[in-house]
Symmetry: C2
Subunit: 441 residues, 2 copies
């Protein structure tokens, strides 16, 4: 199981010309991220999935804080969770239920993470599942749960009792955007993506949603993402694709290097497309999945990027590519060392092409690097070459580049290897400190 320990954000590949109207439901983070997508895709309905939301008053007032996704009988499920040694109670719950491979309902709340709540946390998830099973008529083992919000506060599961019956009654296929809003915490915008794919000539749909803004902010955040599709794919195959797909997407992003207790990514496949002739697929190695895999990877990357684009206090979206490393793992470790360096991130915030800090971050990663063979680019501008400042370095030119909203950093570590990796992060600003340091003081 990989860790979902970092995020990226929002290259919208499926933006429709529908303009995005945002309601500032979060009093403490009213300002929309400057990196937010300009519009949102219209999410097609997915046969076998319906959504509804409710305001259960778990923590917030005057906004929705619970979402239900009702899933057709036989829906297959797979998931990837945080690697934290102190996972939340819902993460424990989902991991244990995943073995069955089947899902009938997903219940997610914001406002309380039900993390670090001891044995009462497990009791709370069990009670939530019982309430959900009763309201939906589904078996307990096919109920999946996620919670995001405050850590360490007992979650009063009886609050679900008051809303679940109505949630089941209200559920409709077109409710996904509303659902994505109900799970927000410090997010300044909801995160959704959609794609079509062909399986053996039959079109299937994949919709995804995510939330997350700080890597983890136990008082307010965590990363959750849910993917839905009508493709008839077995749980094991879904799991293999998800476990692989998370590597270059959600596991290649970082806002602040802090891993959450609650990070959850799940995919649900209703299989409804089988009625339209899509073949039932059991193995991830099935060649007929190639287009689906590509579409799924696109959704994962899109959502991961959106999380970075909503990084707390962010003003710049940073893509870091490391090449010429001994191997891909070394390249990724170096890239994340750069992406997590507070000094690199503050330099980007200050629009300073400070490649000296990049050298230092390469050096501390612990992977092989040839100091005297290193080259660094900001965009297309090579600032360092063969271990020292590029002879043609032009400060004015580079400064102009640093004023942009998207900053591309490329590093050749000079070892001559084929190792290559790309990760995404945002800059580190005073606003990050304000969001995370000021709100209680």
């Amino acid at each position: 199981m990989r860790t979902l320990d970092e995020r990226g954000c929002g290259r919208q590949t499926d933006i429709l010309p529908r303009s995005f109207v945002w309601d500032p439901i979060m009093a403490h983070s009213a300002a929309l991220s400057p990196l937010a997508p300009k519009s949102y895709p219209d999410l097609p309905d997915i046969e076998g999935v319906s959504f509804s939301t409710a305001a259960a008053g778990i923590r917030y007032k005057g906004r929705t804080d619970v979402m239900l996704a009702l899933l057709a009988k036989g829906t297959q499920v797979a998931g990837v969770f945080t690697k934290s040694k102190c996972p939340s109670a819902p993460v424990d719950w989902c991991r244990a239920r995943l073995k069955g491979g089947k899902a009938r309902a997903l219940v997610v709340n914001s406002g309380n993470a039900n993390a670090f709540t001891g044995k009462t946390g497990a009791k709370s998830t069990k009670l939530t599942a019982e309430i959900s099973a009763k309201a939906t008529g589904a078996p307990m083992g096919e109920i999946f749960l996620a919670s995001t919000g405050v850590i360490g506060e007992p979650l009063d599961a009886t609050k679900f009792d008051g809303v679940l019956a109505k949630l089941v009654k209200d559920a409709k296929p077109h409710g996904m955007l509303d659902a994505s809003k109900a799970i927000m915490t410090t997010d300044t915008f909801p995160k959704v993506a959609t794609a079509k794919a062909l399986i053996d000539g039959v079109e299937v749909t994949i919709n995804g949603m995510a939330k997350g803004a700080g890597m983890i902010a136990p008082d307010m955040a965590t990363m959750l993402s849910f993917i839905f599709t009508d493709a008839p794919i077995a749980a094991d195959a879904l799991q293999a694709m998800l476990s692989k797909g998370v590597g270059p997407s959600f596991n290649s992003i970082t806002v602040d290097s802090d891993t959450s207790t609650s990070d959850t990514l799940m995919i649900f496949a209703t299989g409804a497309a089988a009625q339209r002739g899509a073949p039932k697929i059991k193995l991830a190695s099935d060649k007929r999945l190639s287009d689906f895999k590509k579409a799924l990877d696109g959704i994962l990357l899109d959502l991961a990027h959106q999380v970075v684009r909503d990084g707390e206090g962010c003003r710049k979206f940073v893509e870091i590519t490391v090449e010429g490393a001994a191997n891909a793992k070394a390249a990724k470790r170096i890239a994340l060392s750069i992406a997590n360096s507070p000094l690199v991130k503050t330099a980007v915030a200050g629009e300073d092409a400070n490649w000296g800090r990049i050298v230092a971050a390469v050096g501390k990663a612990g992977e092989k690097a040839d100091r005297d063979g290193l080259a660094i680019w900001f965009g297309d501008i090579r600032v360092a070459h063969k271990g020292l400042r590029d002879p043609s370095y032009d400060e004015a030119n580079t400064s102009a580049y640093m004023k942009g909203e998207k900053i591309d950093i490329r590093v050749d570590v000079g070892v001559g290897g084929k190792g290559r990796a790309t990760v995404w992060t945002c800059d580190l600003t005073k606003e990050y400190i304000a969001i995370n340091g000021d709100y209680r003081s």
Copy 2:
């Protein structure tokens, strides 16, 4: 070789009642750290060591930027350096010279780190050593060098040519405080410490100096520390004591998790105390060194703490103790995970006893922890117990504690082991972002 990758700050164990007068020599960081020591010790002279400083105009104007420590013939030397894979040219130089075990001169400059300067960097250190050897009459192999400041700018070593002869002429035993000022970069105060120890009944003196404020800030910083003693101890024994002593001191502090290309810690022992009857000691295991070791460890910790107390933008000095871990290594890894968490550090800045973020940082460390057995204290206040909020938790009481300048965080990870470690850090404030993100924009 361990890494000197982090810093701490200033429990002054030897503060004399001499008040400290500070001249704001650094235009860009005029404000003295609120955690600066209130006074400085009077540093006793050490026989066989003399200091001088000069303004060579390497980068700064109107301040000293070069220091020389002249060492008596036969002075023994040991050192510990950065683990960065991209070390500076002076680090390469010192590592290679350390094998001889002897030192006659130490030349340190601020303003330019001579790091990531390719082959010209090595040429520059060689030229500096040649100039120093000529001026002092010492062999090249006994000249030690350190540089701190901008990364990636060629260091014009000819500038040393103009000042070295006068530095040799001016050198006097009582110049150590001035020397500690000449090596400052973003530091807001010079860092010195002193102690006496008995070796077989004969009193010896140990003086130390350090600089460092951001973990590394290639445009302005890095960690350097130099220790001087008149004790007659052989290089190998010094090396063993230093390598061991750095663990619970300089390697147990962090300002921002960024390792420098230039971190350097060296100890020089002139052996002059032998004339007063101190025995010549060859092995670190010699029982007659017990008092000396204790004094040396005290100096290392004192200087390490001073570095944290001058952490860029710091307002609070944070001591983090992890206990009940599987072993000491696991305890330290968990403690550093807490100390390096931006969310924990911003919470401390916001005077918020946010133990949920501590749970998350424990969870992401990757070491064994029992979520449901965890306990957390702020000072003497237990805020979490057996995996959930302490039943007797009092918000007002805890908030009052968080307003203090020194914050003690203690975590029992509940595994029931004997592993224990303490590390030190500072809070993460908007001022850190301003220092590192604003100065060029």
